[in-house]
């Protein structure tokens, strides 16, 4: 289990200091695939680098299985880091080493017998699906292949945790998907806890079980992906979940409701039947559907009529529907 307690990180800059992280509290349970999303500059990378102390937090604690990372002596910290694998956006492979030797590197560092390391390296190459690349140098590989080698290298020290710092941001969508599948597979098969830093919501949707939304160094929302996606509570959350859903400032409507479809029901007939059954015309201000872990979720912003009774009628009708949550949006910027 990874626990971040009151974590803050301040960087000195020429114009005073910059708070990259402010009082961050997070708990990541074993076996989770935990996504940390945010716009660029939200502090995501600093957050993940605080977990293995590549960045030393200004204050607060990083507890891994109850062990406070910030309290460790350099030697113990190095030992601890070996149980935390990490992959990067730019792969960061050793360019002068073959793929196999790259994978063997962490084992070499830990003082493992060379023949044994080699054998394990070959197994890992098998796991990431590149058994024929043992003797190839990184320059001969594509981006996706490089990331696979990096994943194999991260797994070489039998980590409990895998940190992914924008690991798919340099890859095309198809490759991204295949790398995510691999990460998911590793999480399921080996029970490794995964922390994924990303600015792409698609990555979170694809594989994460839990998500935290980071904005200006603060955790705005956290919970299961279903919870957060269905019903983002904060402005930052909505901005990420519906990046180009609604241009709020262009629309004007007084009674705005957000309806969420919790899987199962198809929503097209809902609006049609609302119009037919109640005779109420609603304005669709925005709609978005998403596929989260195999379940279909959708959300829609509806502008109800100005007339109070008609609006109430529509609201009652919507609330009566199964698998639909209705929420009024009082802070709608009309």
């Amino acid at each position: 289990m990874i626990e971040l307690r009151q974590l803050s990180k301040t960087f000195p800059t020429s114009e005073g200091s910059f708070d990259a992280l402010k009082d961050v509290n997070l708990t990541i349970s074993d076996g989770d695939i935990f996504g940390v999303v945010g716009m660029s500059g939200a502090g995501k990378s600093t957050l993940v680098r605080c977990i293995n102390l590549l960045e030393r937090p200004s204050s607060g604690q990083v507890l891994i299985d109850g062990q406070d990372m910030t309290a460790l002596a350099p030697k113990q910290l190095r030992q601890m880091r070996r149980s935390i694998g990490m992959i990067f956006q730019q792969f960061n492979l050793l360019m002068q080493r073959t793929c196999l030797k790259n994978i063997c590197f962490p084992m070499e560092i830990a003082g493992m017998d060379a023949a044994q390391a080699r054998q394990k390296g070959m197994q890992l190459l098998e796991i990431v699906g590149l058994p024929d690349k043992a003797g190839a140098y990184p320059v001969q590989l594509s981006g996706g292949q490089k990331q696979r080698i990096a994943i194999a290298r991260a797994l070489a020290s039998d980590p409990k945790v895998l940190l992914c710092d924008e690991a798919t941001s340099a890859l095309d969508p198809t490759t991204t998907r295949s790398i995510l599948r691999l990460i998911q597979d590793i999480n399921r098969r080996m029970g490794i806890t995964v922390v994924i830093i990303t600015h792409e919501m698609a990555v979170v949707e694809e594989i994460c079980s839990h998500v935290a939304i980071l904005d200006h160094g603060r955790v705005m929302e956290t919970g299961t992906v279903e919870e957060v996606f269905q019903n983002p509570q904060t402005e930052a959350g909505r901005r990420l979940v519906y990046p180009d859903g609604v241009r709020l400032d262009q629309l004007s409507a007084a009674n705005v409701v957000r309806i969420a479809f919790n899987g199962g029901s198809s929503y097209e007939p809902l609006i049609a039947s609302l119009a037919i059954d109640c005779g109420v015309k609603v304005n669709i201000l925005g709609a978005d559907t998403r596929n989260v872990n195999g379940q279909a979720f959708g959300t829609m912003l509806l502008g109800l009529p100005q007339d109070g009774t008609e609006a109430a009628k529509a609201l009652a009708y919507l609330r009566a529907q199964p698998d639909v949550t209705v929420e009024e949006v009082p802070d709608y910027h009309g």
């Binding site: 293995n52 590549l54 030697k75 190095r78 030992q79 601890m80 880091r81 070996r82 935390i84 990490m86 990067f88 730019q90 960061n92 492979l93 050793l94 360019m95 002068q96 080493r97 590197f105 962490p106 070499e108 560092i109 830990a110 140098y137 990184p138 320059v139 001969q140 290298r153 020290s157 940190l163």
Partner: protein
Amino acid sequence: MDKVLEQITDVLTNPRMHAEFLDGIWETVYATVAATAAACLLGLLLGILLVVGEKDGVRPLPAPVMKVLNFVINVLRSVPFLILMLMVLPLSKVLVGTRVGTIASIPPLIIAAAPFVARLVESTLREVDKGVLEAAQAMGCSPFQIVWKVILPESLPALIAAATTSFITILSYGAMAGAIGGGGLGKIAINYGYNKYNYGVMLVSVVLIVILVQLIQSIGTHLALRLDRRVRLAEKKGRLREIQKKERTARRRPGI
């Protein structure tokens, strides 16, 4: 012109001149190799310290230590070689027992070249991707392991290129040392060409020095290229030109 041709013919036919040139080549090669080996070792150590010990380095050293180190290197780099050599000759007397000859020129060559090599090494090592260092740290590498297993192997091709540049620089320093008692081809060129107006001999010496430089340069460049895993085979030609260009600019500096 005829006279020069005559002198050249003399060099090529006269056994005494043959012996003198063979000696000269040997002395130049031996002084250069010895000084390069020592200067590279010293320069490598200093260069590693400069990179590893800086504020954001792998193993930061106290700021005053770094300041002194940088200052000393800069001072040694700014003293013109001939003057430095004159200043260091008493040290040669202590170290190798003489102020004249090939052996006496080796300590000044080392002292003059080591700071130059240190700066070359420094800039070479800085080119190792910061991300790779970070990855190594994340894997639990100690500072020593990062230097020994990441920084040095990753920059090996560039270090070989730097060693080649150093060798050539030291060769030209060594030729200058001929003016104040050092041995080798430089001495022959100055003795005959400058003191006796025997331009033929000087010309032959210069040609021999040029051949030596070309030889070392080709060996160094090809070795660096062969060990470079960052480029694909097809791109190696372009890379070769790039390295050569870089080496030329590295050598073109004030003081030589």
